[in-house]
Symmetry: C2
């Protein structure tokens, strides 16, 4: 179905993942490794091409040392919880 809202959400996730990853000086490969996912898969998420599931979301959050809801929040401030 992919409504406009869903598109925005994927986009938000993409931006958050990319920002957090670069914030920690990781490559897509490094994040993929840390999250237990694949390089190209992480890449396609960052390009908001994927409609990821809770499971992948969780893996991603783990790899980025953050919380799942952080990846889906529009966050300008304290994003990195030490």
């Amino acid at each position: 179905m992919v409504t406009g809202e869903a598109k925005q959400l994927r986009d938000l996730l993409a931006r958050n993942v990319r920002r957090l990853r670069r914030d920690q000086n990781m490559s897509q490969e490094a994040l993929a490794d840390a999250a237990g996912l694949h390089r190209t898969y992480v890449g396609s998420i960052e390009r908001s091409e994927r409609n990821v599931s809770l499971d992948s979301l969780c893996a991603l959050a783990h790899g980025l040392s953050t919380e799942v809801w952080c990846l889906l929040s529009d966050s300008k401030e304290g994003q990195s919880p030490q």
Copy 2:
């Protein structure tokens, strides 16, 4: 893969959905209709049997008139964002 973290997340989602739904006096059917999902699917989500995608998460949030990150936050207090 379904790590323990992913299990917890599904469980949290299940609780939040059920609580918010009942809070608004909706049946699973009513929510399914409002979210554009299927009756049995909503039921299985509330039983934390499903690893839902962003798209469904968005639809669910829409049907519950809330935000996606609310469904994934451990929320004791102000759940309804004004």
